[in-house]
Symmetry: C2
Subunit: 273 residues, 2 copies
Amino acid sequence: MPTIAYLGPENTNTHAAALATFGRQSRYAHAATVDDVFHLVERRLADYGVVPVENSLEGTVTHTLDRFIDFIDTPVRIHGEIEHRIQHYLILAGRVKPAAVRLVFSHPQALAQCRPWLAQYLSHAAPRETNSTADAVRYVLQNTRMRAAIGRQELAAQWGLKAISIPLQRENKTRFLILGLGEPQHRRRSKTSLLFALKDKPGALHDALVPFKQHGINLTKIESRPSKRKAWEYLFFIDVEGHQSDPRVKKALAALARSTSLLRVLGSYPISK
Amino acid sequence: MPTIAYLGPENTNTHAAALATFGRQSRYAHAATVDDVFHLVERRLADYGVVPVENSLEGTVTHTLDRFIDFIDTPVRIHGEIEHRIQHYLILAGRVKPAAVRLVFSHPQALAQCRPWLAQYLSHAAPRETNSTADAVRYVLQNTRMRAAIGRQELAAQWGLKAISIPLQRENKTRFLILGLGEPQHRRRSKTSLLFALKDKPGALHDALVPFKQHGINLTKIESRPSKRKAWEYLFFIDVEGHQSDPRVKKALAALARSTSLLRVLGSYPISK
């Protein structure tokens, strides 16, 4: 039975994504920060870690990418990804009407995603940011008469509160990474995640992408992040289709190594969809 | 005398960047959100707007870029950029020792940037996120015995508090955009900011960068953001050197228009450094 570390607390979306993938039979350890999840995997206190990496509306979870930059030699590799549909609920005490709510607590991403709905139906309530959706519910429990939270239905059930479904106009999905040590074994359709730094010369990004074009390898994602060493110097995260052991990908990676000043293969793993 | 709208409240870093650029003679209007700054410029209630767009440690201010996506036909153009060095101060009442502090309030970016210093010297205090550094000081004023804020020296002076300089290990600069209507007139060394969507085919990003490579135009920044229409579909923001009226840039933009499904020139403006 593997032990799964995830960005907690319990009943958050990360917990739900981990449960959907590893099942109720696994052991779970919730961590307070993304950094803690990495640590638990690095120290072999957990077999796998689950952390959010990207939301379809809000974009990249920068903490997660930056952990690969801040600890550039981490042995942690990406073993998989989980795509999880996000459904938000307004959570409040059973006898309280939404019109009575004065403060709405939630994680900043959840508040941002529900902003149009809140503006329409709960404009009399002020938003309050919390570290997690689970923390948000704790604030509600302190004063159930005038407070509500936004979070998963399970959170409402956990504390005997009611949950009102919040319809969203746009597709809301979060992508999570499965972290582990070593290289995962699998044969399914793969993607490979890379981290690299460009050489300081004009056209460097173009040159870095040429090998993928030449070998017909599709790029599914590119993200730049500050190097933190020097202002306006960037590192790049890219996802490409294929496994690092595929001959075509191997050739492209060899060419990429020549046109970059730093290159890390963060992992090859099955595409989620 | 122009009117300058900026992301407020007063004495924040955005205010300081605006003052350093437009001087004490201009009139200033502080806005509560990035969206409000855009609105004031769009309705001609302000001649210029100043909003943060990027920090050298924390990366892009996604709200600012996303405003260009959410209102794709805004008449607002980028008229300039301001690079501003950030110096944080621990702000607390004159008679209070840092050892007595239990809660440290500040904007999430300021807290993130000071995290190593806080861990070393103020590990007994818990961080609390606020909407701005100015709001953080208001929380301190509610209980000066055990609370501190992180912000600019001017904020401490404004409320008669003391300010202790926080040394940072890494270069901390924020880049702000100057927003306006119409095209700015200038002759200095320029950069041009672009927003585009790729056609859905392999190698599309590579193909979009080819014209810049071919015409010897340097790319200084690339950033991808969710399209918000479809999960895992992206829009790209790039900055290139040169003015949109330069013959080379003109040719590259014409080629880019053919290889993209959407293209907006957000502005050509003088490079700050």
